[in-house]
Symmetry: C2
Subunit: 240 residues, 2 copies
C-alpha cells in the first residue's frame, strides 16, 4: 500500500543566511524559501563533488548533505545532468563577478588593473582546493560534455578578452614589443597551471609564491610597469 507519510515536515530548516541584511522579517516568504533550498542544493553539490568527485556523485550524497529529501532535486532541477550544468554555471558566474569586482576596485590604471586580476585569481575565495577541485572535475569531463565545455569557455573567453585589452594598453604605454594575444593566452595558461598546483600539491602550494611567479613573468614582459609590484601589493594589503 503506497501512502507516503511525511512524518516530520520540518517547517523551517536551519537558516542558511538571514536573507536581506536590513530586514528583520521573521516570516520568510514561500518563494524566498524555495530559492534558498535551491541554493542549498547547489552548495551541497559543490561540496559533494569536492570531496567525492564527479564520477561517484549520486543524488543521495547531495541530498544527504543538503539535508533535504531524495526526491527534491528532481523538483528543483529537471535531472541530475541539469543540476550539474547549473552548478557549473553558478561557479562560473561567481568567478566572473569576483574579477569584475576586483577590476572596479582597481581603478583606471591598466597596470593596477592587471595586478588586481592576478591577485584576485589567487585570492583564497577563488583559489582554494575545494573550488579548484570542482572546477577541474568539470573540465576533466568537458570533452565528452559539450555543455560543460561551452560554459567554461564562455567564462574564459571574457576573461581573456579583458586581459588582451589590458596588455595592449600597457604595451603602447611602455613601447613594449610582444604579441598581446599570445601573451594573454600564456598568462591564462600559467594561471590555470598554478591552480592545478593548488589541487595537486595542496601542502606545498603557496598563494604568494603563485602570485610571485605570475608577476615575474609580467615583469619580464613589461619591466617599466611591474618593476615594483611588490610595493603596490603591500600598499594594497595595508589599506585592506
Amino acid at each position: 500500500m503506497a501512502f507516503g507519510g511525511g512524518t516530520s515536515h520540518l517547517p523551517q530548516r536551519t537558516s542558511r543566511a538571514g536573507s536581506s541584511p536590513g530586514s528583520q522579517a521573521k516570516a520568510p516568504t514561500r518563494v524566498a524559501r524555495k530559492e534558498a533550498t535551491r541554493q542549498q542544493i547547489l552548495a551541497a553539490t559543490i561540496e559533494a563533488i569536492a570531496d567525492g568527485g564527479l564520477a561517484d556523485l549520486t543524488l543521495t550524497k547531495i541530498t544527504d548533505r543538503a539535508e533535504v529529501s531524495r526526491g527534491l532535486v528532481n523538483f528543483h532541477f529537471d535531472s541530475k545532468e541539469q543540476l550539474l550544468v547549473e552548478t557549473l554555471e553558478f561557479l562560473t558566474l561567481e568567478y566572473l563577478a569576483s574579477w569584475k569586482r576586483a577590476l572596479e576596485r582597481a581603478g583606471a590604471d591598466a597596470g593596477d588593473r592587471l595586478l588586481a586580476l592576478v591577485q584576485n585569481d589567487f585570492h583564497p575565495s577563488i583559489c582554494n582546493r575545494k573550488k579548484v577541485a570542482v572546477w577541474f572535475a568539470f573540465r576533466g569531463e568537458s570533452k565528452s560534455r559539450p555543455t560543460y565545455l561551452e560554459v567554461c569557455n564562455r567564462a574564459d573567453g571574457e576573461f581573456t578578452t579583458t586581459i588582451v585589452g589590458l596588455l595592449e594598453t600597457l604595451k603602447s604605454e611602455g613601447g613594449y614589443r610582444f604579441d598581446a594575444i599570445r601573451a594573454a593566452h600564456g598568462l591564462g595558461a600559467l594561471i590555470e597551471g598554478l591552480w592545478l598546483d593548488c589541487l595537486m600539491y595542496p601542502q606545498a602550494f603557496r598563494r604568494n609564491e603563485a602570485i610571485a611567479t605570475t608577476m615575474e613573468v609580467l615583469t619580464a614582459l613589461m619591466p617599466k610597469h611591474f618593476k615594483d609590484w611588490r610595493e603596490t601589493d603591500e600598499r594594497e594589503a595595508a589599506s585592506a
Copy 2:
C-alpha cells in the same frame, strides 16, 4: 537454467600490432596473447574515457570497444577501480618514457635538452586531445582519489626535478639571476595550462603557438641561450 555457452570463441582477435617487428612468428604464445588482451583492454579504457568521460564510464563500454566479453575485465584486473589506476599508470609511464627518450636524443647541452623537453611536451604523441582529455579526467578526480593524485605526482615530480637541474646548469652557464625552483614550477604550470588549452579550444589550439609561447618565457629568462631557438628547431626538423 544456468549454463554458459561460449558460442563464438574467437581463437584470435584482430591483431593490434605485429608483436616484435623482426619476428614472423605465426603462433602467438599463450602468455603473449594474455598480455596482448590486457593491453587491448587498457587501450579501450583510454579511448572510452576520452570520448565518454570518467563519470559515465562502464565496464560494458570498455569491453564493447575492446571486443572482449563482459567478464574479462575482472579476470585481468581485480576491479574497475584497479583497472583505472593501471590505466593512469600506463599513461604516466608512457609519458615518462617519452621525455626520457627525448632527453637522450638531445645530447649533453643543457639548452638543447630543455628545448627537447618542451618540444616533446607538445609533440602530437603527447599533446593531443584524446590523451589530454584522459589526463585531465584523472586529475579532475584526484582530490577524492589519493591514488590518482599519487600516481600523477610521482610522474610530475621526476619531471620537475629534471627541469630544476637543467635550469640550474643554464643559470650558472649564463650568469642569470632567477630562482630555479620557482622557474621550474612556473614552466611546468605553463605547460599544463597550455595542455588544457588543447583540451578546451581544440580548433584554436596550435602546437607551434604553444611551443613559441613557452620558449618566449624561456628566452626572457635566459636570453643568451634561447635567443635563436627557432633555428635550432628548424635544424631539428630538417634532420628528422
